[in-house]
Symmetry: C2
Subunit: 392 residues, 2 copies
């Protein structure tokens, strides 16, 4: 499954293919984030046009609104959002812990306040697994206890141990659902969803904060629990510095099973994608491309461009002359700047579209550089160009 | 040019073709409104997909931001906004008169306050003509003095007389520009725009408020002024009742030259389109389809649907099962409702897309009904279905 691997100074860069019920994903791969069952400002048609192979949706958000039963009645998440390629749902763990307002963790799960109507709700490992089963994504994530970057070792161990106990509960419930031992409901779902839900994979999440020994231990014990089809690294990019994140990745890399895809959750910016691929990571998700696009910031091979800047006012050049997206092949920087100055919705869409295309092309470039055996040099050259200070 | 004409109780319904520098427009025809050089929430690709043949842009808005010189530097309005089919620009008359805040009319033109930066600016017939020439639309509109619906005859006559004097000034300036008698500027424009700007048409606007004799007189005098390629009816749908608007159209219809397209400005809702085509109108523009779409209101053959309504929560049906747009062929009402409940940008786009497709299909249906000689019966049946009260 992972055919090309080349050693880098920091680990190994890998190519692979991930066969999922709704299609094959080629890695390294960036997943656009469709928090509420839609990637903000983009349609599924846009996502196909920019080459997205898999999209992430948020269990917490869809549970709170419209509710997983509504999604099931409307044919499951793929049909609901009009996306026929692979989908991954996170477990809600990260969202619950990053919510403003009330939340309370105990051994059973988390009680929290809905951001929509303020109502008290509870998520447990079993509920998070059931919700994701009902949504019907190709990959479901285990329910985890996320702690902020830089917490002390006792707190980090406590959350890691709880995440491991919750993983066993998620796996048990997922197994029951997959064995269709829950009576009529599974049949309903079989009837309503396009693909049999029992082909959904459950992936574990390794926690442990910034404590390398905890991270190693978490990974070791996760591998002991089950025969996984992928492993996620969670709790990074949550406030720690970049060198610390890279340390964790370099620590985990040799201990990760070669045959399993490695998913670094919530990362990231283009420079993080390159650094993480150097350290053996295969899959990513991040809201940055779309969020920054809506703020008027575009990724280009020469670093980020703020399209609101007055210097673009009469610039006939495309945002990124190397890019093949609709925004870059159709519009001038001057027009894109006008759309942002005039607060037109099309601007939000065109920069989101370009940024997602940018990171997907970046992943493809990395794939080719790895296959050609030139990744280390490619990464150096990429960084030299991308991170240079913008000319005055 | 206008081949099919059938008599109706209120006038005549007509089909025709309008050959313009950037393409042929088939009438009856609805023009989506791209106020600031973009049809809100839609891309040119979307507009082509829903069959838009011509788009309207606002001279006032583009003059204030980004400025016509910026548009010219970026290749003219077609290239600026990525729209290679016909474009019509209004003259700014209606916008200036509908602005909040300061404005002062004298014989020379209008002084007003920019809605963007509050600066005092002046539009005259000559400036409005020059700006539209610089923008490079296929059809430019004469600068007119619009008065509110229902003003007394003295005020309406005053504005009508001024509009006629301004029309002569617009026509004179447009002729000078078309003859390229303004030195280097026209050459610059020839170089920058894809099509020679001297093929731009200038259309007059008939005013006269709700006073039928004034309307008749305005039309008669306009026809005497020049050899026009189209005539607009302005100053309707500005506060007067629908029967009054229909009276004006029925009064003008027999006096309008058979060979010229008739453009009813700022109209309208589907029921207004049908009523106006019955009274001999060929072209329309209105922000209603996109504005209502952004508010969650959709046109359907059975009347308007408010997609925010809770009854659509788990409805797997499309918005309009008769419609071939992306929204109706891809998504359920339940998903569209979710997008509005979750305040997702995709919802604004999908309902705008559907509503524009709806009015374009409506125009196409009218064209076919006229060609088949069954328009009167068709319109009765259409109204019976569209205007029926929604079932409880």
């Amino acid at each position: 499954m992972f055919e090309f691997t080349i050693s880098t100074r920091s680990g190994s860069a890998r190519n692979g293919e991930l066969a999922l019920p709704h299609g094959v994903v080629q890695t390294p791969c960036f997943m656009p984030v469709g928090t509420q069952g839609t990637v903000r400002a983009l349609s599924p048609h846009d996502l196909r046009a920019v080459g997205a192979e898999i999209v992430l949706a948020n269990t917490y958000h869809l549970h709170v609104r419209p509710g997983e039963d509504v999604v099931r009645e409307l044919g499951g998440l793929h049909r609901f959002m009009g996306w026929d390629r692979p989908l991954l749902t996170d477990s809600g763990g990260f969202q619950v812990f990053s919510l403003e307002g009330f939340r309370q963790v105990d051994e059973n799960g988390v009680e929290f306040q809905s951001h929509v109507d303020g109502a008290r709700r509870r998520l447990t490992p079993e509920r998070a697994t059931e919700i994701q089963w009902t949504l019907g994504a190709d990959i479901a994530m285990a329910f985890d206890h996320v702690v902020p970057g830089g917490v002390d070792e006792t707190t980090a161990r406590d959350a890691m141990e709880r995440t491991l106990r919750w993983l066993e509960r998620c796996a048990r419930r997922h197994g029951e659902l997959a064995d269709s031992r829950i009576g009529g409901r599974a049949d309903d779902m079989d009837r309503l969803t396009a693909r049999p839900p029992d082909r959904q994979r459950l992936w574990p999440i390794a926690q442990g904060g910034t404590h390398l020994s905890l991270r190693r231990e978490a990974l070791h014990r996760i591998i002991g629990i089950g025969a996984w089809t992928g492993i996620a690294i969670g709790g990074l990019s949550v406030g720690e510095s970049k060198p610390v994140m890279y340390d964790v990745l370099e620590t985990l890399e040799p201990a990760l099973p070669r045959s399993l895809p490695r998913y670094l959750m919530g990362v990231g910016f283009p420079e993080d994608l390159v650094a993480a691929v150097e350290r053996g990571v295969d899959l990513f998700d991040c809201v940055a491309p779309t969020r920054m696009g809506r703020n008027g910031t575009a990724f280009t091979p020469d670093g980020v461009v703020n399209i609101r800047n007055a210097k673009h006012r009469t610039d006939p050049a495309p945002l990124d002359p190397t890019c093949d997206c609709e925004s870059c092949t159709t519009y001038s920087r001057g027009y894109l700047r006008h759309l942002f100055a005039a607060e037109e919705l099309l601007g939000l869409r065109l920069l989101s579209l370009h940024n997602v295309r940018y990171v997907i092309r970046l992943a493809g470039e990395m794939r080719r550089a790895i296959a050609a055996g030139i990744f280390t040099g490619w990464a150096e050259a990429w960084r030299h160009r991308y991170l240079q200070p913008e000319p005055a």
